[in-house]
């Protein structure tokens, strides 16, 4: 089929375009309470069509006069009406003024509910039942996966709360699912064994690994073309690492990473070029060892065994590749407390060269995030309280946002940020940094200034005890899960 010489589409092209538009439009759904919302006059503002009025378009608040104060009343009415409507989402969490300005969706769990702020929209609750946990965005941010904490079952939902479906059996742990980096495909690992692949758009489920196979961890290759998984060691049988092609290709194959006998393997990720893996060695599957940190290794599929990168807690945000895929940044240090003995280490891919990143004496450095161009990292820095000391609110309030070169030079605390900063993330343009606090999310220019509140009123109060655990639990309760590869895209001002 070709474009006609006249430059216009042929009938077949028109037919295909009409069919495509029909199929795309068919994805839109109506929420069940839409009529009630209309009849309740549940609206901020509405435009007047110029073609009907014959005047220039304007925006006026519905039911009240124009003007800032009236608009504020209208906004307040929206919040109030949502709060009073039995069919509306609960609004314990709402965005405060200034309103949400995210261009990238952001999700978080607070108060036992899953909340989402979409670009330019007020925050809303998308899942309130079943203790939702651990939200993860799909690669194109059109889907969220989360764990129903009551049933330990994985759900997939659109960011507006529609199309909420449960997939796979009950009995999935936190971190027991992972989106493909290449498609809207989710790998689910039930505790009972096997791996299911869920296609979010079609809701289809494909058993990729037999449920009789015990699977301990999974990791997608960067292109989404392969899935690595591990099986635990058993008497007389070592732990195995298996590479599984997705969507055809060669059969699955085991790779020999020279795992010590009796030790388990927890995958941390693939090499960026797909030529190897990074993983933790878990000797004996001890919960105590896990909580104190495990040796993180790097191994090529071409052999040679693994090289030690450092001892780290099993917390995926603390292990990150540079944007160009040549360096690996770790928050290293043994011990369960983030407030004792934690510092940064930068390694090359194969782990042949690892260098500690200098930090001020008496401090810890955690929550590192690469800038989009890989020249800098944003980190959280606080005092080192020493091993065995209780991490209280005072320490949490010391957590400050710093920016420094990847080698630790040119370090400076970002004026105006925090205190109490958790899990910073860069904007895609490298000009802003977003981070979580106990009760709100903020974004601040890299050079500092007045932060913009993205969402506030969160009740994910820091309890002084939460920290990264073996299941990847987020520190300090509420933490933003930005829906972008580089954290978030950018923010309006």
């Amino acid at each position: 089929m070709r474009w006609r010489r006249s430059g216009g589409p042929g009938p077949e092209t028109e037919t295909r375009l009409r069919a495509g538009l029909e199929a795309l439009a068919g994805r839109a759904v109506a929420s069940p309470d839409s009529l009630e919302r209309i009849l309740a006059g549940d609206s901020e503002t509405a435009p007047v069509p110029a073609s009907v009025t014959g005047r220039a378009r304007r925006r006026v608040p519905v039911g009240v006069g124009a003007g800032g104060a009236a608009a504020a009343v209208a906004v307040a009415a929206v919040v109030l009406s949502l709060a009073l409507s039995p069919s509306a989402p609960r609004t314990r969490v709402v965005s405060s003024a200034p309103p949400v300005r995210a261009l990238t969706p952001v999700a978080w769990v607070a108060g036992g509910d899953l909340h989402v702020a979409m670009p330019g929209r007020p925050a809303r609750t998308v899942a309130a039942a079943g203790q939702p946990q651990n939200p993860e965005w799909s690669v194109d941010r059109r889907w969220l996966a989360y764990l129903n904490g009551d049933r330990h079952q994985v759900h997939v939902v659109r960011p507006d709360g529609t199309d909420d479906h449960a997939f796979g059996p009950e009995g999935v742990s936190r971190g027991g699912y992972a989106w493909s980096p290449g498609a809207n495909e989710l790998a689910i690992v039930p505790r009972t064994g096997g791996i299911d692949l869920v296609s979010a758009p079609s809701s289809s489920v494909i058993p990729a690994v037999d449920p009789t196979v015990p699977v301990e961890s999974v990791a997608w290759s960067r292109d989404g073309g392969r899935l690595a998984y591990t099986t635990p060691a058993a008497p007389g049988r070592p732990a195995r690492v298996v590479l599984l092609p997705i969507g055809g290709g060669p059969p699955p194959r085991s790779v020999d990473l020279a795992i010590p006998p009796g030790s388990d393997v927890l995958l941390a990720g693939w090499w960026p070029d797909g030529g190897g893996l990074i993983y933790w060695i878990d000797p004996g599957g001890s919960a105590g060892a896990l909580a104190n940190g495990l040796p993180l290794m790097s191994a090529s599929f071409s052999g040679g065994g693994g090289r030690l990168l450092g001892v780290t807690l099993v917390f995926h945000p603390w292990v990150s590749w540079s944007p160009d895929g040549t360096r690996l940044l770790l928050v290293a240090g043994a011990g369960p407390s983030p407030a004792a003995g934690k510092s940064l280490v930068v390694c090359d891919v194969a782990g042949t060269a690892c260098h500690p990143v200098p930090q001020p004496a008496g401090s810890v450095t955690v929550d590192a995030a690469w800038s989009p161009d890989g020249s800098e990292v944003a980190v959280v820095r606080a005092s080192d309280v020493g091993p065995g000391r209780h991490v209280g609110a005072a320490w949490v309030s010391e957590r400050r946002l710093w920016v420094e070169a990847a080698d630790g030079s040119s370090a400076y605390p970002v004026p105006g940020a925090g205190p109490g900063v958790t899990l910073p993330a860069w904007s895609a343009d490298g000009r802003s940094i977003g981070y979580s606090l106990a009760s709100r999310f903020e974004v601040i220019p890299v050079s500092g200034g007045r932060p913009t509140v993205i969402a506030s009123g969160l009740d994910g109060a820091n309890d002084g005890t939460a920290g990264p655990d073996a299941d990847g639990r987020q520190p300090w309760g509420a933490a933003a899960v930005w829906g972008g590869r580089a954290g978030f895209d950018s923010y309006g001002g």
């Binding site: 795309l24 009849l39 069509p49 690669v139």
Partner: protein, 158 residues
Amino acid sequence: VREGTGSQTRWADAVVTLYRTRYLPMVRLAFLLTGSNELAEEIVQDAFIRLRDRAGVADLSSYLRATVVNACRDHHRRVGAQTRALVRLAAVDATVDAVDELHDALARLPDRQRAVIVLRYYEGLSEAEIAALLGCRAGTVKSLAHRGLAALRGVVER
């Protein structure tokens, strides 16, 4: 609302009647124009509420569509550049099917081109009807359609 004044009751009755036949089609139209189901619903709900002040309009259905189209365009004027930047990133990130590709390709179109394409090939309006709705000349509609189709060519012909 139904226990309110006479005009409120008439509005509510009209809304309920129109809702049954036009709500979902309007949400789908707004979805094509904005790319967001959530935003589409809010725009359409706002448009229905606008009917409260337009009880005397003879063709409520056309008024509704005009309100929705203009609200979508108004939205794009405010956030268009930002949205396009977001869509570009998503397009790089994702492996998508044909419908997803059309979604992203539509989102990359300037808002007037997108409106013309959707109104012409989804709503089935004539060039004259589109021109009246968008407040421009029929020749402009033809030109916008030509450019929009050219931009979508790679996706549609794949």
